[in-house]
Symmetry: C2
Subunit: 246 residues, 2 copies
């Protein structure tokens, strides 16, 4: 048995999310079935994060145990060949110790959220960005975002379905930058609550078009109540960017 | 009658190209039919360039004459509403003089070609970039490309279907730059021959993976013979970027 660490890029549009679901296709299922097709092994793939339906990954990290003797190169080539035409690709692969775990060993996760700030509808990036028609003040969004940095009870920004034991998390980074029509929001933490990034982005958008002040955002955080959430951004613009290991 | 200049973004994947075709959908037809739906007018839209099947536009310029009284804002909103769910969007609109012509007044056109240089298949950018598995030397490509700058007979890089009166064109810019896995090739000229950008990119890729030297590229240009073409790059990575007017 060899344990392989995989780095995976995927387009979340056709999937119910990373995790296997009874009611629809998942990225995990696509990968596990692709591995079965060339190893005849029934494997389970463990990932650093479980992205929601419609959320993408630039470099999800995961691990899998395989009996069949394979080099990382051969595994990558066979897996990518078997995944076609699914929009899921293994972009890196290495052998790791048998006790290395993509989820439990992960000490940092980062996400990126993409907004296209214009009235015109999206074309090739439909489902890959959030189109916001009202003008967004990215400087105001960035300034307000800094209040969320650090150790907080993030209950306001947490889905009712969140399985995390505690709503208290430490947010390490939340930046907003504008590049022409596009706004990029970068978030980093050891771990995130379910919907946390989308909920923070949604509220930052309210700040961006002047409906909320920076003080309103802080008040929403402080009250620690899901009812104080202003807006949950759609999954379209969210990308899992990286997982960090010691 | 008012003449409007439109700036149009589109995803070329579902289309046979810009120009109306008997055998399949085109961007021109999508726009003309959308205008008909809210004006009841049968119009013809003229563009700065006629992109091929599968080629995209970041900012195609075009013009159209409309009888119905409309502001540029109302035209844009109505057109974008009627275009849905087609991946075509009007991103700017202005009133121009009745003798302004998107094609004949255009004195400069620029294109961008995107290559993803990696073994792994593409995911969300499938059909939006050209995936090249073999490592490409972007510096060698850029250096070789400079030989194509200036006034030349570009017959080697011209499709058999080209309708241009002369194969002699002046190429103003052809640059190759690498950004991680991605190569961006930028081309600018007053006008291009049919398939010229894709043919130049294809041959530059041969230089990039060492099959051709810079001298081979120059020899292919000098012989002015379509049979000397090394490779025609696919439409996937090609974007019409801008049209310039006096």
């Amino acid at each position: 048995m060899t344990r392989f660490a995989l780095t995976i890029e995927y387009d979340g549009r056709p999937y119910m999310g990373w995790q296997r679901q009874a009611h629809g296709p998942s990225v995990q299922q696509a990968i596990e079935e692709a591995i079965h097709r060339f190893t005849a092994e029934t494997v389970q793939v463990f990932s650093a994060g479980r992205t929601d339906a419609g959320v993408h990954a630039i470099a999800m990290r995961a691990h899998v145990d395989i009996e069949k003797p394979l080099t990382p190169f051969k595994l990558t080539e066979a897996l990518n060949a078997q995944l076609r035409p699914a929009p899921v690709a293994v972009i890196a692969c290495e052998i790791v110790p048998d006790d290395w775990h993509a989820r439990f060993a992960c000490i940092g996760r980062s996400y990126e959220y993409r907004i296209v700030n214009r009235r015109a509808p999206l074309t090739w990036d439909k489902g890959l960005s959030w189109q916001v028609a009202r003008p967004l003040d990215s400087d105001a969004m960035h300034a307000a975002a800094q209040q969320l940095i650090g150790l907080h009870d993030f209950t306001t920004f947490r889905s009712a379905h969140c399985q995390s034991q505690s709503p208290v998390k430490t947010l390490d980074k939340l930046t907003v930058s504008r590049h022409g029509d596009e706004l990029i929001i970068e978030a980093a933490a050891r771990s995130f609550l379910h919907h946390q990034v989308r909920s923070m982005v949604g509220c930052l958008a309210l700040v961006g078009y002047g409906k909320w002040s920076a003080r309103d955002l802080k008040a929403a955080l402080d009250v620690a109540d899901r009812n104080a959430l202003g807006l949950n951004a759609p999954p379209d613009g969210l990308y899992f960017v990286s997982a960090t290991y010691p």
